[in-house]
């Protein structure tokens, strides 16, 4: 169980970190006056600084109003539901990069239908393949937009 206060602090720290990254990154390129006006780091530097300052503002606001932020941000049951959605999605991205988007689509849809929708394995696999083929026809044939392909497409001679 995560409280709203913890989530506020965690997110504000994350945004402050991103702002700091922009500040440090921008310093490399100079924030002064160059041959062509302000150097290229100037704008991102001040934007990063603004993010850091506003994140500190959020941190202070959360700390001051801590009492009012004790509500639950994420219940255990909700966290489980989010994880059961996020992890297959993460796997989908990894498989897409290794085997291409079509194979990943077929596998991902089949897996989610079978494991979460409780469909029969055969129905799930058939639906996954049908969806991948539909996407292929729609994107590559109709709109001429190529998607990321992997070894299976190469073996089948599809480029």
């Amino acid at each position: 169980m995560i409280s709203r206060y913890t989530a506020e602090i965690g997110t504000a720290t994350l945004t402050a970190g991103l702002g700091l990254a922009a500040v440090i990154g921008a310093l490399e390129f100079g924030i002064g006056w160059g041959d062509a006006g302000p150097e290229s780091g100037t704008f991102p530097f001040y934007m990063g600084l603004l993010v850091v300052l506003a994140s500190i503002g959020t941190l202070v606001q959360a700390t001051v109003g801590r009492k009012g932020l004790q509500s639950v941000f994420l219940h255990k049951e909700e966290a489980m539901r989010v994880a059961s959605f996020f992890l297959p999605m993460l796997a989908f991205v990894v498989v897409s990069l290794l085997l291409g988007l079509y194979v990943a689509t077929a596998l991902y849809l089949a897996f989610v239908m079978w494991s979460q929708g409780k469909y029969r394995l055969f129905v799930s696999i058939a639906s996954g393949i049908a969806a991948a083929v539909t996407f292929y026809v729609l994107l590559e044939v109709a709109f001429q937009v190529p998607l990321l392909k992997g070894p299976l497409e190469a073996a089948l001679g599809i480029y």
Binding site: G25, G34, P38, P44, V51, A54, F85, L101, G117
Partner: protein, 504 residues
């Protein structure tokens, strides 16, 4: 009169068979993305945008704007039938729309929603027709400092007028600018903020951010809530529709007031969501039947729907005339215009009048097409939500990632979309506004260029932002808006302290 003649010419451009078919396809796709959880108007437009790169810009923008109208209508359908707002701007419609549907008045609620939405959109488009040339001509006087001041004003109004914490709005906006700065610097041509990653050389596309923030983030929220789609079956009977149409004039005050609120919030970047809530709140406060609100009061459907669509359509005005979009979806569309090689702003009216007026004319036609099509297809789209989420959910995920890949054909964008999805989930749950982030990503380069050019003009002195009446006025309004929340908090504390010391 000049505008009227241009509009007639625009109708000539928009009223071809090809364009009308595109409108119908766009509206249908829009209703689909509006109905499906996780796929809203900004997301739908982002997903469709890469497929329009090969199209003629007039045809492409007609397809995209029609999708926008369709998505706004689709969002209302799910709000009323399923109590699930397909769009954030449809949340206020659930308050009375769903209770009406539960009382067996689904057809009445839907008809009222669509007709008032159509009315709101019409007022928005009339506003664009009347004002666009004037605003564009006014904007022709702008040079870099004035443009920077307009961008400053737009972002300041997010801070001042938004419902979120000003700090969170600034974080969201600043991050958007920082993301926009990644990759090639438009002035020096050098690379920056890439941290040695080759994948970041070509920058971070705002389209990937929209897909992650609005699509994947929204889906994660939907999953967390474990939504069950327990909808009300609706069959739209022509007789009931006609009867409801006859009752519409009864709400003329609400219609006009809500359209005015919507237009104002659309032109300033308050956006449709803020407009619908504000309009609902005012309708409730000013109504004679206050106690009926929340229990199925028709006025509670009319008010947010009119404002939502008035804001949605009038958000196109600053995008076209100034190059400053009034909503997240308008920002995505503006990004599209830039990708097609068009430069939104006053020069567009001079360089491409066929495009501008074809677009404005298509907004009239697109909304009429949308009202008719949405009334005809409610049962079809409502049945989509009866497909189990274990099928629809992963299909939407796949569509989002395929959309992210098609933006530039870069595998790394899949990771970026996922990361933005997590950010979107956190931001939504913690009330960080997302629209300023998207707007900053789209306007980042333009705002920075305007700032740098102004600095070059003044040899590094910030006084250029106070150098004439126009830029000073814009900056002062911007500052007042940006500092408004801080000043009102301080003022509130001071008054409180005085009151308590007086009591003591």
């Amino acid at each position: 009169m000049e505008n009227f003649a241009s509009l007639l010419h625009g109708f000539g451009v928009a009223l071809t068979t090809y364009h009308v078919i595109l409108m119908m396809v766009g509206v249908l796709l829009g209703i689909l993305v509006g109905v499906l959880p996780g796929l809203g108007a900004p997301n739908g437009v982002s997903l469709l945008l890469p497929l329009t790169f090969t199209m003629d810009p007039v045809a492409a923008i007609i397809l995209l704007t029609s999708m926008y109208w369709g998505a706004l209508f689709g969002g209302s359908t799910t709000s009323i039938l399923f109590n699930i707002p397909g769009e954030p701007s449809s949340v206020a419609t659930t308050f009375d729309g769903y209770p009406m549907a539960r009382q067996g008045q689904a057809t009445q609620a839907l008809t009222l929603a669509f007709l008032s939405a159509g009315f709101g959109a019409l007022v928005g488009v009339i506003l664009i027709t009347v004002l666009s040339t004037w605003v564009a001509q006014f904007a022709l006087r702008f040079s870099s400092p004035e443009y920077f001041a307009v961008y400053f004003l737009a972002f300041a109004s997010f801070v001042g007028l938004g419902a979120a914490s000003p700090f969170k709005t600034v974080v969201s906006m600043g991050l958007g600018f920082a993301f926009a700065a990644v990759g090639m610097d438009t002035v020096s041509g050098g690379l920056r903020l890439t941290y040695g990653f080759n994948e970041l050389l070509s920058g971070i596309s705002f389209l990937i951010a929209v897909i992650g923030l609005f699509g994947i983030g929204e889906l994660m929220i939907t999953m967390e809530e474990g939504l069950r789609f327990d909808g009300i079956r609706a069959r739209v009977k022509v007789r009931d529709v006609l009867k409801t149409i006859a009752t519409l004039p009864r709400y003329w005050v609400t219609l006009l007031r809500s359209a005015a609120i919507g237009c104002w919030m659309g032109v300033t970047p308050g956006g449709p969501t803020a407009a619908s809530f504000m309009s609902y709140g005012l309708a409730k406060r000013l109504s004679r039947r206050k106690e009926g609100f929340g229990k199925g009061e028709p006025e509670g459907v009319v008010a947010p729907e009119t404002a939502d669509h008035a804001a949605g359509s009038s958000a196109i005005l600053p995008m076209l005339a100034l190059g400053v979009p009034g909503s997240a979806t308008a920002a995505v569309m503006m990004g599209g215009l830039m990708i097609w090689g068009l430069n939104p702003g006053p020069m567009l009216f001079i360089e491409r009048p066929d495009f501008v007026w074809g677009l404005i004319a298509s907004m009239y036609l697109g909304n009429i097409v949308a009202v008719l099509m949405v009334l005809a297809t409610i049962p079809l789209f409502a049945s989509i939500l009866r497909i189990p989420f274990a099928i629809i959910g992963p299909v939407i995920v796949v569509v989002c990632f395929i959309g992210a890949y098609t933006v530039a054909g870069r595998p790394f964008d899949l990771w970026l979309a996922l990361a933005f999805g997590v950010v979107g989930y956190l931001f939504k749950k913690l009330d960080y506004p997302i629209a300023p982030l998207v707007l900053a990503m789209v306007l980042g380069d333009k705002a920075e260029d305007a700032f740098r050019q102004s600095m070059i003009m003044s040899r590094g002195s910030l006084s250029i932002f106070w150098s004439n009446g126009l830029v000073t006025t814009l900056m002062l309004i911007g500052l007042a808006l940006a500092l408004g929340p801080v000043l009102s908090t301080l003022f509130g504390r001071l008054t409180k302290a005085k009151t308590s010391s007086a009591v003591a």
